[in-house]
């Protein structure tokens, strides 16, 4: 057990609290404080991963008993998967801080407070292996994001934040109901309400059709996670949230928060409800495939760039859910890789949109065109990231989608073929977006005087572009981190 774990774990929260006491007037100091904080968080996340003795198995980091909370135990543990996502989460915090360096708001302290609290809550979800702990952090994520969108968002931010909160909370309630049920069961079996990993395993819920406990709990958890991912038809909150969210919200939402739904499946559903996963696998695979096509087609007809990227997320997340539920080790490996790839390319696209918006105060594609002429640096970086998102070979997007499609093909050819149409459709809408913004002639007078990216602005895009190519050429850099855990997330490991 890591004796210093608690301190490391609480760093983002302590940093967030630090913003409350920061001097309001000194914006630069607040921003520097945020930058240092984000760097520290990334550094300790990486260090925690590097210190793992065996990324292939869950290593307990910290455990404390809560005799005063129904005698429950809170266990924090880490394996390759959670470590990888922990690093991604911390990395995205740093990206957000750098990208929004020039942010102008009276509520700067609140802004950073929310970002760091959100990061802390995500870290907590990733490391908690007792169901109760996971649920606390899962819910804790909602509030900072709700306020972030509600306070710093666009014109319809209230509607979007409310819809996002309610839809995700509705899913959480189902998860909570299942937890209460399992707690009651655990109490009958062990005389304790505790729901740590070992206890959940020992419950061994019966499966004998839809109305059996395993099946109902599977669906309760699945709906909670479907809403988070989001999987078609549980996706309607996402476009609104993305469009109205400030850039920081969009980056974190697309980059890491959506992945928490997939992580939930891998950590708390697949290992515990094998018969239900088998029984309902085809339904989920088809939902994933529909999501891929629906997301792609809807993205195609969008005029707002942010909305287009939001729908593209639904499409990409469809792939990931298919990969996970295929239970084919190759596809599961691809799905986890795709989580990282999507966590790099989609935030990159949102950063691009952010720079366009800060210059022109519009996100409509028809308001741009020919930007490559006045913003060549932007055009190159935006293209590289777009290429990653459309899964061009030798970019990170290709690796994940290829592995998933190949893995799913072994199991269900129809679904694989349906999903493959997404590979065709994604270049259609993404190239259309790129074409309408960066290529062609400059048709709007205002665009002629647009400034190219400064070095500070370009930095996050450069880093993300490099990662897009690097992981496309050498995916093992990431896959090696979680390779050993794959068995645990497929039936073969049960």
């Amino acid at each position: 057990m890591d004796q210093l774990f608690l301190i490391k774990f609480l760093i983002p929260l302590l940093w967030a609290i630090g913003f409350i006491f920061a001097p309001k007037q000194n914006e630069r100091a607040i921003k520097l404080f945020a930058l240092i904080g984000a760097t520290v968080v990334l550094a300790y996340s990486a260090k925690m991963f590097l210190d793992l003795p065996n990324p292939g198995a869950l290593t307990e980091l910290f455990k404390f008993e809560m005799p005063l909370f129904f005698n429950m135990t809170y266990t924090f543990a880490m394996d390759g998967l959670s470590g990888l996502l922990l690093i991604l989460n911390s990395f995205l915090l740093l990206v957000v801080v750098v990208t929004t360096w020039e942010i102008k708001t009276e509520k700067l302290r609140l802004y950073y407070f929310l970002l760091f609290t959100l990061t802390w809550a995500v870290n907590g979800s990733l490391l908690a292996t007792s169901l109760y702990g996971f649920y606390i952090f899962w819910e804790a994520m909602l509030i900072p994001l709700f306020i972030l969108v509600g306070v710093f968002g666009g014109e319809n931010r209230r509607y979007a934040s409310f819809k996002f909160f309610m839809m995700t909370a509705a899913g959480s309630i189902l998860m909570l109901a299942s937890m209460c049920y399992m707690s009651a069961l655990a109490y009958k079996l062990n005389g304790s309400y505790d729901l740590n990993y070992e206890v959940i395993k020992s419950l061994n819920l019966r499966y004998s059709g839809f109305w059996s406990p395993q099946s109902l709990i599977f669906w309760a958890f699945s709906i909670a996670f479907f809403l988070k991912v989001p999987v078609f038809p549980f996706h309607s909150w996402l476009p609104d949230a993305h469009v109205e969210a400030p850039t920081a919200g969009s980056i974190l939402l697309a980059g890491i928060l959506l992945k928490l739904g997939i992580y939930g499946f891998l950590r708390f559903v697949i290992p515990f409800y094998p018969q239900a996963v088998d029984a309902y696998r085809d339904i989920v695979l088809y939902l994933g495939a529909i999501g891929v096509i629906y997301g792609a087609l809807t993205a195609w007809v969008q005029k707002d760039i942010k909305k287009l990227v939001a729908f593209s997320s639904i499409s990409h997340m469809g792939y990931i859910i298919m990969g996970v539920f295929s239970q084919n080790p190759f596809a599961v490996k691809g799905a986890i890789f795709q989580m990282v790839a999507h966590g790099i390319s989609t935030p990159g696209l949102f950063i691009g949109v952010h720079y366009l918006y800060t210059r022109r105060h519009t996100k409509k594609m028809d308001q741009f065109g020919g930007l490559a002429k006045v913003m060549p640096r932007f055009a190159v970086l935006f293209f590289l990231i777009t290429a990653g998102s459309m899964a061009v070979p030798m970019t990170c997007g290709f690796v994940g989608e290829f592995m998933i499609t190949a893995g799913v093909y072994e199991l269900n050819k129809v679904v694989a073929i349906l999903a493959a149409t997404g590979i065709i459709l994604s270049p259609v809408y993404l190239l259309k977006m790129y074409h309408l913004t960066a290529l062609g002639e400059i048709t709007h007078e205002e665009n002629k005087s647009l400034e190219d990216l400064s070095l500070l602005e370009a930095t996050p895009m450069i880093v993300l572009s490099v990662l897009t190519i690097l992981l496309g050429l050498y995916p093992k850099l990431v896959t090696a981190m979680y390779e050993g855990t794959i068995n645990f997330f497929t039936h073969s490991g049960l």
Partner: protein, 460 residues
């Protein structure tokens, strides 16, 4: 001697409050004297509760164990509410005195062991309730009070019918250890008591009085009314009904429990759904209390065990205390808006008083059952126990209804953090020391209950 000290203390309480009432006639400083006397009465009463653990006057009245604990808690809340009410206006001091008598009714209800004391205590609380509404001086206060009075009187009459049937079925009026000689009559009597509980607690479809009453009483009175009526009436009815159901023939018991469950689930759904479309906060609170009554009623159906009463008390205290906190803060916002309580009053609340907005957010998130707050711990404990009892469908239904509940709670937070373009023109909300003290106490309690509920529940 011990029992005599309790009687003495009650007499002192009544005498001091009577003196306070009389001192209102003193032209100069009358309200200050009245306030002081009432406060002293409550403080003395509270202090006396620490002198002994059992107050056993006769078979008719016993206060012991959990009841004494509950009484201490309510007494403390009573003192805090008197402080909050303050002595700034004559109306407030009058309300304080009325509430003191309501509190006294609560004390007798809590200790009542037979139906006559039970009835008298219940009526005392109800009468003060009618008066508080009628004297609220809002546009429709009197109409609401009359409506409440008429419906309340009908229910009282029905309750008396139940008491008569109970007498016929058991040969006595005592609520403890009665021997049932006629099960049919007994089941009807218990059914009537269930109906009375549903009315008094405001369960669907006996809730018609609740929205009008709540919306026509001042927020300050509503807050004080809340913790006494909800906690004590809720506790008493639930424990009594549970004991009475235990004596029922299994066949009738099954039917009555089924009826309670249907009412509970219907209340949870109805309250939550209707609350979401309300435009006034008082009406939102009224309907949310209908929903919470649904959760409470489910507790009647549980098998009592060692921790049962503590769970019940903790739920009632947490819910009432949090709701009281919400009402008190809403009152602060409403006072700056000519006592209007439309949803607009919270707009930009965060920019008008950050601390107050954050505290209110925590209160409503607790009511919504967000983790680390008392609301979540209670919800977790209660629903887990419902599942343990095998009420799977009912519990799942109530869970689903609570999603709707979360929607209106989160709207409070949304309103608070919504930035009004004219926020600079909105008045800053100032908080008095006594108000801040109560907010902080409630806030700390919410987190203490939320993080360490077993401290209170004594669960192993």
């Amino acid at each position: 001697m011990e029992n005599l000290s309790f009687v003495q203390n009650v007499i002192i309480f009544i005498a001091l409050n009577a003196a306070a009432l009389l001192s209102l006639n003193i032209k100069k400083n009358g309200k200050y004297i009245a306030f002081g006397l009432s406060l002293v009465a409550s403080v003395v009463f509270f202090a006396m509760l620490y002198t002994q653990d059992v107050f056993n006057l006769s078979d008719l009245f016993t206060l012991d164990g959990n009841k004494v604990f509950l009484l201490k808690l309510v007494s403390l809340l009573n003192i805090l509410m008197i402080l909050i009410n303050g002595y700034n206006s004559l109306e407030r001091v009058k309300s304080t005195l009325l509430i003191s008598y309501m509190f006294l009714g609560g004390v007798f209800l809590l200790g009542a062991n037979e139906l006559v004391t039970f009835y008298v205590a219940l009526e005392t609380i109800a009468l003060i309730g009618y008066t508080l509404v009628a004297t609220s001086n809002l546009e429709y206060s009197r109409e609401a009070a009359v409506k409440y009075l008429i419906q309340g009187s009908i229910i009282s009459a029905i309750f008396l019918l139940g008491a008569a049937l109970y007498l016929g079925a058991t040969g006595g009026l005592t609520l403890v250890g009665a021997t049932v000689v006629n099960q049919e009559l007994y089941a009807i009597a218990v059914g009537i008591f269930i109906l009375t509980a549903c009315f008094k607690l405001g369960a669907f479809p006996f809730h018609a009085w609740i929205a009008d009453t709540y919306s026509n009483v001042t927020l300050g009175n509503l807050a004080t009314n809340f913790f006494i009526s909800k906690i004590i009436i809720g506790y008493k009815f639930i424990t009594v009904l549970q004991a009475l159901l235990g004596e029922c023939d299994p066949h009738f018991q099954d039917i009555l429990i089924r009826i309670i469950q249907v009412i509970a689930v219907a209340s949870a759904f109805y309250g939550n759904i209707v609350a979401i479309v309300q435009g006034q906060f008082k009406r939102i609170i009224a309907y949310s209390s209908v929903a919470h009554t649904g959760y409470m009623l489910m507790m009647i159906c549980m098998t009592p065990d060692e921790s049962y009463e503590k769970q019940l008390i903790s739920y009632l205290v947490v819910y009432s205390m949090t709701a009281t906190g919400v009402i008190l803060i809403l009152n602060q916002f409403a006072q700056l808006n000519k006592n209007e309580d439309g949803r607009g009053i919270l707009t930009s609340g965060f920019y008008r008083n950050k601390g107050l907005a954050v505290i209110l957010s925590v209160f409503v998130l607790s009511l919504g059952g967000i983790p680390l707050t008392a609301g979540f711990a209670m919800k977790y404990m209660m629903f887990t126990n419902f599942f343990k009892e095998g009420f799977n469908i009912e519990t799942t239904s109530i869970f689903i209804s609570s999603v709707v509940g979360l929607a209106y709670y989160i709207r409070f937070v949304s309103d608070l953090f919504t930035e009004n373009p004219d926020k600079m023109k909105l008045p800053i909300i100032k908080t008095r020391f006594s108000e801040s003290l109560v907010h902080v106490i409630i806030l700390l309690s919410i987190f203490t209950f939320g993080i360490a509920p077993s401290l209170f529940l004594g669960l192993k």
